[in-house]
Symmetry: D2
Subunit: 140 residues, 4 copies
Amino acid sequence: MSGFETRLRVRWAEVDAQGIVFNGHYLAYFDVGITEYWRAIGLPYPAGLAGTGGDLFAVKTLINYHGPARYDDLLDIAVRVERIGNSSIVFELGIRRGDERLISGEVVYVFADPATRRSRRVPELLREAVERFEAAGARR
Amino acid sequence: MSGFETRLRVRWAEVDAQGIVFNGHYLAYFDVGITEYWRAIGLPYPAGLAGTGGDLFAVKTLINYHGPARYDDLLDIAVRVERIGNSSIVFELGIRRGDERLISGEVVYVFADPATRRSRRVPELLREAVERFEAAGARR
Amino acid sequence: MSGFETRLRVRWAEVDAQGIVFNGHYLAYFDVGITEYWRAIGLPYPAGLAGTGGDLFAVKTLINYHGPARYDDLLDIAVRVERIGNSSIVFELGIRRGDERLISGEVVYVFADPATRRSRRVPELLREAVERFEAAGARR
Amino acid sequence: MSGFETRLRVRWAEVDAQGIVFNGHYLAYFDVGITEYWRAIGLPYPAGLAGTGGDLFAVKTLINYHGPARYDDLLDIAVRVERIGNSSIVFELGIRRGDERLISGEVVYVFADPATRRSRRVPELLREAVERFEAAGARR
């Protein structure tokens, strides 16, 4: 487990009439976490994919809601790559407020040709950068 | 299967720099579909829950992305209740553009006390309205 | 005044913890109105600009909030072009719920080269389509 | 001028198919800036208004777009209170990327009774906290 985390604060516009964050915004939070993950491993999106001829497209997202986040909460978003397949990358994500787990989930991307949408093998450079980062995290 | 559907048009603000709808917006689309489902069965949210002392909270959302929606697309959102448990309601959703399936997914709600967040039995009035509606759809 | 209007329904995700639509969403509503305006005059965006070599960029938006919209409200969005300058187009917008005025505002676009961002003269085809549409509305 | 600023990073979900931040999101950015302003003056919203019997409602927002923000940009949001009237508070806002001015604008709130929406005099505690903060900024 890489142990990678990033932090954000819940905005007023993200909270609904129940006083809690609307479910769809957690996918934007996941995306913020994944953006920072790419930066942390040295392949900031999208520049890190330049020259690969491919791009990443979400094919599955899963969210489990254990407890609600509220306005102005400081949230810690934990991100790790759980698995890299031939053309897919599986991210595992968690959101906590302090010690309390609020959200767990998964985002699966496929590496594909942007024009044809046909899947392609995840480039070695990306594969190696992820594996090195996750291995370093496991030793921490 | 109820065969219930509602339609919406993709907005400019929902499309990202890849030219496709950002993944989080599909949960807002699901929510539009579920809103119209409650209205269709005669229990518009939240008035339809008045007097029950409970509210619905999402505990799980799952989205599978089969193909991307684009700006100005007309999307058909199919909604059915797949199952009602003791305190949970499982919605199955699909999004199509014409004959092309773009999205399939699931939203699971728990009926709970808004103050304590403790789950409660789904009220009979809600249970019956859903079952009647789904059964009528199955005969269509 | 063209008298052009389009209708939308407030979504759950657009309502904040005060129980009213968050102010930023009205700009998305304005955008929906302007999208439908372009379609109504026969120049759907962005296809209607194909071959002009330019694109429209917002340079000013103004919103006056007379009253709040709430979840599930049906809103009528009135759109007219108030003025076309050399390179600018000034939209005047209003949002009503039934007879009640909720929002009035303005969106100013500049027609410009997408690469250099330098402003250019609004193409005649666009100018004429707008003037014809507004004149027809004035006679209605 | 208080010189108060806060920083945020543009998210993927906020960028549209033109590759630039959709105009409505700047109102969410303004709101983030104003949230941090209230915190900075010692009256975090909404707790800082507790006991006043009133709340703040936007009555006008104005945005001027000088240049576009893009994905992953770090933006500095400058916030100051330009004027406090009997029942109104006028915020002046600016957004920069480094030395480049991208956005300038205004948000006007009215302090009002949440139930009746009738405007009320801005409480002294709020008035004084703002004036002290702005005066200290002017001396910086």
